[in-house]
């Protein structure tokens, strides 16, 4: 598309634009029924193939414009016999065509989402038009939820770029960031980045639907926008460093390469390398930072018993903050002999402590052995070489963004443990600052909004875990403490309903499983109408955006994450690829 436009001269382009505008102005049908509860019904007057499910349509009724989505298409006939009989075999083609044109039809089901008052004709009443325009500029007239219905026979047409911009915002203005294009017409659809991060949001889609590319696009937009800090838990080391796409084998630029000064790469554990590169700094976790809750959260992963909370509580009572260190140092199955020659547990053994603390020795020993995986984790040290956690917080404060790469520590245990512990610590800092700011402490500044990006979110937000992790708290409290989540997952049905229902914006690619589809639509009013649309998405690069962050649901052909994207984002518009230049010279 871009190349072909380059080859055209200016007048061809404007002609093409004019004809595409004319095309979209044409009516595709008229309203024949429906209501506020049921969707609107429109009789299609153009061949059905020109309209698809999910198409964005505009209904013009008097002074009002209604914006809606095509959620279903039905074949109908004035009499069932006209549909049953193959009259084209009995009548000459011309007659059959006339007959079918009048007796067979397609009805569109249109889910009207928004309506807006339309201005008077500028030629007829320039003064009234100016007054209306002024109101639009002052945002007194805005698209609002549908509260009435269009008239019978109101014209239905496909939306043009202006309609989409009216609803979703114009690219480049304020916080509007183009996330893709409409399926019909290919008009740019924007998302308001500032609004997107005001509540937690989710990106869903089965494997291979382009989730991580879309996430990169959004993250790049957020980093460019520079209003929020982003912390990415990069479990598979794909967001920071440059990568190679698993399906096409193409090079995929990482965020670090494109924003070298804004993005800090952090490795987990001393001496960590990420895809052969040294990170900006490494993170180690101090043993004293670990709380019993952090261990409890791993109950499923470590297969902990019911006695664990009691044992942990006793450990904390005995050793306070140093409980993890002390417990790690204890030995098991070591005995001494007392004066009477009787075998007693060695003083530095688990059993000796258990006896002293009134805990069942068997339970304590079992816990000790189950925590061995944590004791052996190289990134948990007694005294970290540097306070990397503080450094991360400082980075996030200073307008930088942090990608925590897990490097070779890719197990679920590492991911769950580290991401939860860090998030808890960071959120505490933000909560503290928010409280200071709100209570008007001297020198307290408004905290910088923080977005925490979590991959494989169902591991942290499933039914069992949701009550224990910090993530569900963040999802629930929205933006109260200036921290929100961006969760990325392929199995939304595994995420706890209560968390799902709190998600503001949902962007979802194709999902195969009906449970997943169901859960993505949790808490939405129009889920029945949207279910079909979601089930029929193209498996690649088509996403449905819905929820609080977008004015109305819409199917979008998502923006490609490629060199053109980066050139546009970083405004290197005059840069052209070698192949284009060669083509122009005539090779």
């Amino acid at each position: 598309m871009f190349n072909s436009q380059l080859d055209m001269n200016g007048s061809d382009m404007s002609e093409q634009r004019a004809s595409s505008l004319e095309e979209s102005q044409k009516s595709i049908g008229y309203i024949v029924g429906g209501g506020l509860k049921a969707n609107l019904q429109a009789r299609l007057t153009v061949p059905a193939q020109r309209v698809q499910e999910g198409a964005f349509v505009v209904v013009e009724s008097g002074n009002w414009l209604f914006y809606g989505l095509v959620t279903d298409m039905q074949l109908g006939s004035t009499d069932p016999r006209f549909a049953d009989e193959q009259t084209e075999t009995r009548l000459p083609p011309q007659l059959a065509k006339l007959l079918h044109g009048q007796t067979l039809y397609t009805n569109l089901e249109v889910m009207a989402a928004l309506m807006m008052e339309q201005g008077p004709d500028i030629d007829e009443d320039p003064e009234a038009y100016q007054a209306w325009f002024q109101k639009v500029m002052e945002e007194q007239i805005r698209p609002e939820p549908v509260k009435t219905v269009p008239q019978h026979h109101a014209e239905v047409r496909l939306a043009h770029a202006g309609d989409i911009a009216e609803i979703f915002g114009k690219e480049g203005e304020k916080a509007f960031f183009r996330i893709g294009d409409t399926i019909e017409g290919g008009h740019p659809v924007c998302v308001n980045l500032d609004k997107l991060v005001q509540r937690s949001s989710g990106i869903f889609g089965a494997t291979g639907t382009g989730k991580s590319f879309l996430t990169r696009v959004i993250l790049a937009g957020l980093i460019k926008r520079d209003k929020t800090a982003v912390l990415i838990f990069d479990m598979h080391n794909e967001y920071g460093p440059d990568d190679t796409a698993s399906d096409t084998g193409m090079r995929v630029p990482g965020l670090k390469g494109k924003f070298p000064s804004k993005v800090r790469m952090v490795g987990l554990g001393r001496g960590a390398t990420i895809r052969g590169k040294t990170p900006d700094y490494t993170l180690e976790i101090a043993e004293s930072d670990i709380k019993p809750e952090d261990v409890m959260m791993l109950a499923q992963e470590l297969n902990l018993r019911e006695t664990t909370p009691t044992t942990l509580e006793a450990l904390r009572a005995s050793f306070h903050e140093a409980w993890f260190h002390e417990f790690k140092q204890m030995r098991t199955n070591t005995y001494n002999f007392d004066e009477d020659g009787k075998r007693v547990p060695a003083p530095d053994s688990v059993e000796a402590w258990a006896n002293g603390a009134g805990v069942h020795p068997g339970a304590a020993e079992a816990l000790h052995s189950k925590l061995r995986r944590l004791f052996n984790a190289p990134y948990i040290v007694e005294q970290p070489a540097a306070n990397a956690l503080q450094q991360m917080i400082d980075n996030l404060d200073n307008g930088q963004h942090v990608v925590l790469s897990f490097g070779k520590h890719e197990t679920d245990l590492d991911y769950l443990f580290v991401s939860n512990l860090l998030t808890r610590r960071i959120r505490d800092v933000w909560e503290h600052r928010t409280n200071n700011f709100r209570s008007g402490h001297q020198g307290a500044t408004e905290p910088r909004p923080l977005v925490i990006v979590v991959e494989e979110a169902h591991k942290l937000l499933n039914r069992e875990m949701a009550s224990q992790t910090t993530f569900s708290t963040i999802a629930r409290e929205m933006r109260k403490y200036y921290v929100t989540l961006l969760i990325i997952d392929q199995r939304p049905s595994q995420i706890y309903d209560e968390v799902m229902s709190q998600l503001g914006t949902r962007i979802t690619g194709w999902l195969g499983d009906s449970d997943d589809i169901q859960s993505v639509l949790t808490g939405l009013a129009s889920r029945d109408a949207l279910r079909g649309m979601l089930a029929h998405l193209q498996p690649k690069e088509e996403v449905l955006m819905l929820g609080w962050g977008v004015p109305m649901p819409i199917v979008v052909h998502s923006r490609r994450y490629d060199d053109t994207f980066w050139d546009e984002l970083l405004e290197k518009k005059d840069r052209r690829s070698n192949s284009d230049i060669l083509k122009d010279i005539g090779f």
Partner: protein, 198 residues
């Protein structure tokens, strides 16, 4: 204006009339053709021929049963009949003050009024007026062979319209028929299969 007189009025009513004509006039009218009856200045009634009826009389019966009737006698009796040929006409509308109405005429023609065949130009201007309102009168009369009548009428009118440069008329007419008849599947299919033979 066509001056082909096809006969004179035998009897009439608001919805139609019967024309009597001589045998030597019979080569002009045909089933489905349009006729007009000028009544007074700037007022004439239009109709379409739905029936051509030839009655027997006593002499014809005798001649059929008689032996060895000379050829001249047969010819004389065919051409000079006591009973006229009867042509049934369905009223479709009227013209008054140069305006065409697809409504039933305010008053029917009187006995012995002369009936003329419409010229192609008159057919084109009558059928091209408005949106086929005269179809109402044809479709409403279920006793008549409306499928055949419509097919014959459309064939003749199409020719007149094409001559007048209105190529799209035929499609519009069929479209209108389908719209009017689409609730009556059987009736519409009958009409379309008759029309498809044009």
């Amino acid at each position: 204006m066509s001056e082909i007189e096809i006969g004179r009025l035998l009897r009439s009513s608001t919805t139609g009339f019967v024309v009597g004509c001589k045998v030597n006039q019979l080569n002009a009218p045909s089933f489905g053709a349009m006729v007009r009856v000028p009544l007074e200045a700037q007022y004439q009634v239009y109709g379409v021929i739905y029936d051509i009826h030839i009655e027997d009389d006593g002499l014809v019966r005798q001649l059929i049963t008689a032996q060895d009737v000379p050829e001249e006698v047969l010819k004389d009796n065919r051409e000079n009949r006591n009973v006229p040929v009867e042509i049934g006409v369905l009223a479709l509308g009227y013209e008054h003050g140069r305006r065409i109405f697809h409504l039933l005429p305010p008053r029917p023609p009187l006995s012995l009024d002369a009936i003329f065949l419409c010229s192609p130009g008159e057919v084109a201007s009558f059928t091209g007026e408005g949106r086929f309102g005269y179809f109402r009168h044809i479709l409403g009369d279920q006793d008549k062979p409306i499928e055949e009548l419509l097919a014959a009428h459309l064939r003749q009118a199409r020719g007149a319209q094409v001559d007048a440069g209105n190529e799209a008329w035929y499609q519009q007419a069929v479209g209108e028929l389908i719209t009017l008849m689409r609730d009556d599947y059987q009736g519409l299919i009958k009409i379309l299969s008759a029309v498809s033979e044009i």
